[in-house]
Symmetry: C2
């Protein structure tokens, strides 16, 4: 009964889904290969055929998470807000949605980076994610006509990260709203012509 058409295409996907759950819930370091293949219902050799090593599986896990986060953010921002100014603050509202989701365990990239050595695969993918967050704010700040977009973007990144830490470490999903309030003031100050 193995190796059906649907299974063949989904072996990699099931591994990625299993890794996504386990790595995020318990950490890339704490979860062993055996746990991943068990949940995916896949043989060990298949994992190594598909990814080559645990390190590459972690990379794929983080890249998938980056893509999902990015797509969700862009989708929600487009659906909920119209102007760049609204979207700059709206980022924190969308962030607040993920904080409220059951099983929220903080930023996956921060957690994965915790015990990553300089130059590691994790650091690479985390850097890509950090660049995206930064450019998300920077692009919107430019579109909003901020007097100093780099400065505003940097400030908003501080708040974005701070909210993520507080939501996680203090188990406070409302941190995003608090950050959004501060962000609103910063956006107003940076875009008001007065």
């Amino acid at each position: 009964m193995p190796a059906k058409i649907a299974d063949r295409a989904s072996a990699r996907e099931r591994l990625l889904a299993a890794a996504g759950e386990l790595f995020y819930e318990e950490g890339v370091h704490s979860v062993g290969i055996d746990r991943v293949i068990e949940r995916a219902g896949v043989a060990k050799a298949t994992l190594y055929h598909a990814f080559g090593s645990k390190d590459e599986l972690i990379r794929a896990y983080l890249q998938a998470r980056h893509a999902a986060t990015r797509e969700r953010m862009m989708r929600e921002l487009a659906a909920r807000y119209r102007t760049p100014r609204e979207r700059l603050v709206g980022v924190f509202e969308v962030q607040g949605l993920s904080f409220a989701q059951p099983g929220f365990r903080g930023c996956a990239f921060i957690s994965a980076s915790a015990e990553a050595r300089p130059g590691s695969t994790v650091e690479e993918v985390a850097d890509e994610y950090r660049s995206w967050v930064r450019s998300l704010f920077l692009d919107l700040a430019r579109e909003a006509g901020a007097t100093d977009p780099e400065r505003l973007a940097r400030q908003l990144v501080l708040l974005y990260d701070g909210a993520g830490i507080s939501a996680w470490m203090d188990r406070d999903p409302t941190a995003a709203a608090a950050a959004g309030t501060v962000a609103q003031g910063l956006v107003d100050a940076a875009t008001d012509p007065s």
Copy 2:
């Protein structure tokens, strides 16, 4: 030559010093007991006699770090600034000092919490640290006569965490200064009678 008077008193201290270096540099998870005892120049049995388990060694490491951070912050704040308002912003300047130190690897409590399970020892000690950070800002905000001290303290904690993340993940020691600038605005707005 073993078991001299100085050695006896310092066996625990040498273990704590070795753990402090290794755990912070490479993570509590990645560093094994053998590495710690090797650097401390101590037998394995001595470690287990002194701490009972690796988990308790990690607790002692984090508690020592908490105490050192707290004492340094209080000392620098008292030496550099006079008014509570100055100190509220001064926290970020002191934070910036640690960012600039060689070997800075981010907040030890965040890193240690990354793969810690709910209810673990690490979570306990991290909670104590988080409470201290919060009360540091809250006490100063009250002394400064802020209209809403809880609100101001919460906002400053967001910036404090955000700066820590940016300094670490983006390798940007100047994040503290950027956070301090935003903090100044928030403090002004929360304490100006206008």
